[in-house]
């Protein structure tokens, strides 16, 4: 995860929950999304880093509705993460949560998101003048690892809801290290399950893949041609994946957006 130390705890735009007010190690704000703040903190030991996802209350919402939504979302995200973890899908583990106070503490994942690594790799190759399609074994390997990670998640009955290359991390494998391996090496870890749900419907799975495909198209158009590698690995990852790929054709045809009545 990217760490921006310029955003310190004191600069938080909202009042913080008790757990973030007196930590042994000061919490660092890492990212602010539309509905959650992500902090880096520690869990139990000062040496064990963790990520803390905090959903502040929204002043525009009726307090009853606000509490209901926050509780529901934290619990459902934690449930999905726990389920994935139990079934061996690479996701951060859940350490602790307080759905009433609106926070969830999860495992800290080292490494960087695929979006950054992939763009760096693509631009470095462009500088070196390597034409597309040449010596891209590393890229093919990455695409296949993405495909099988997504397939494993779908196989256990979870859809992510927001699959982009910003929500896929590359965790360094200890034996190789970043130097020994390479920019595109590492284990794929799926993160940010804020929009995830438990579903085994082929439609939902196909939409997940479609969103990922569009994310590749818009942010890494040079790697888009290799998206078939993602789908190839996906097909082998669980029983019934071939039906999802057929459904994906349908989803592509209609696009996400329908033509509508005024």
């Amino acid at each position: 995860m990217e760490v921006d130390t310029s955003l310190s705890q004191s600069s938080s735009p909202v009042p913080l929950p008790l757990i973030l007010q007196r930590p042994s190690v000061p919490a660092i704000l890492i990212a602010q999304g539309a509905e959650a703040l992500l902090f880096r903190s520690t869990y139990l030991l000062p040496s064990l880093p963790c990520a803390l996802k905090y959903r502040p209350s929204k002043p525009y919402r009726h307090p009853t509705l606000d509490l209901r939504l926050t509780k529901h979302r934290i619990l459902s995200e934690a449930r999905v993460l726990t389920k994935c973890r139990r079934e061996g899908v690479p996701v951060p583990g859940v350490y602790a949560l307080d759905e009433g106070a609106g926070w969830m503490m999860i495992e800290w994942v080292d490494g960087e998101v695929v979006r950054i690594r992939l763009n760096e790799w693509l631009s470095r190759r462009a500088q070196e003048g390597v034409p597309q399609g040449v010596e891209d074994g590393k890229l093919v390997g990455l695409m296949r690892r993405i495909g099988s990670a997504v397939g494993r998640m779908h196989g256990v009955g979870v859809v992510h809801g927001d699959l982009t290359t910003s929500n896929l991390m590359l965790r360094p494998v200890p034996a190789e290290g970043v130097n020994g391996g390479g920019m595109l090496d590492g284990e794929i870890v799926l993160i940010d399950f804020g929009l995830a749900s438990q579903s085994t419907q082929d439609e939902d799975r196909a939409v997940d893949l479609y969103v990922l495909e569009r994310a590749f198209g818009s942010t890494h158009s040079k790697a888009e041609s290799l998206f078939t590698e993602v789908l190839g690995a996906y097909e082998k990852s669980f029983k019934g994946a071939n039906i999802v790929l057929k459904k994906l054709e349908e989803v592509r045809m209609r696009g996400r957006k329908r033509s509508m009545l005024g």
């Binding site: 909202v14 602010q32 509905e35 929204k58 002043p59 919402r61 939504l69 809801g161 009545l261 005024g262």
Partner: protein, 349 residues
Amino acid sequence: MISIGLEGSANKLGVGIISHPHPNKPAQILSNIRHTFISPPGEGFLPKDTAMHHRSWVVRLVKQAMAEAGVSIADIDCICYTKGPGMGAPLQSVAITARMLSVLWQKELVGVNHCVGHIEMGREITGAQNPVVLYVSGGNTQVIAYAEHRYRIFGEALDIAVGNCLDRFARTLEISNDPAPGYNVEQLAKKGKILLDLPYAVKGMDCSFSGILASIDLLAGELKANPDKRDPITGELITTADLCFSLQETVYAMLVEITERAMAHVGSSQVLIVGGVGCNERLQEMMGLMARDRGGSVYATDERFCIDNGIMIAQAGLLAYETGFTTPLEESTCTQRFRTDEVFVKWRD
């Protein structure tokens, strides 16, 4: 340059005349009048009756708009009309009027996308530069942001529009459709206190309202059968005002949430609310609270420009006309389906 705009995609017939005195000066509204077809309580407006209303009023409205503006036919540069989206029969009535005026006055026609009309009028009136737009009306629910000559739809209602949900609930309660069903729901909601549990259907940047409508209709039915129903927590009597309150609190929270997500996505802190539902004070208030937390601001207009009107068609049409866009007579059709992102926005950078 001066243009006249004709709008009649739903139950409002509007005629407006706008002038662009100079590229660097604000537009001048010369006239903006409207006549609304109001159906009896418990009923919606049917296309056939609405079209008849438009046909019988349009000549009077055009004459009145010209007189109010104090312009002659020679001053008019182009005739703008709503090409879509909207209800077929009412759209046709207005398109025929536009064609007739075009032939009669020997002026160019400009077909305008209704949604783009709302956005352009909102931008002109509020001065918002590059906002995320929430377009909410009886027929449309869209979260829009501008990028590379298109108004791109980031999120939208997957089934019925939010205004349709409110209007249909007004029909269930059989409250008046005058001046607008949504307005009367809003007035009732101001007296409500108890928040009842309703579904909350947000999917990423999209949302859905049909399940909420079914759910609140059911609650209204229960209340009718048993007027002594009490809130299990406070023990207070539940009223129809509480139903309206719960409905508004739920659907507007959904709208603000998807707007916030779009703002975070495109990195904008301005939000512009357009469309008939945009008049709602509670929606404006909630949006303001959200925007304040993001260090931004909310831009909204009043009923003259929020609710369907002719001036917005004149504004968007004139912007297109100034870039050389016209609609030839033989192509001056209308269409019920016309997406916001189909329009090439040549007038913006």
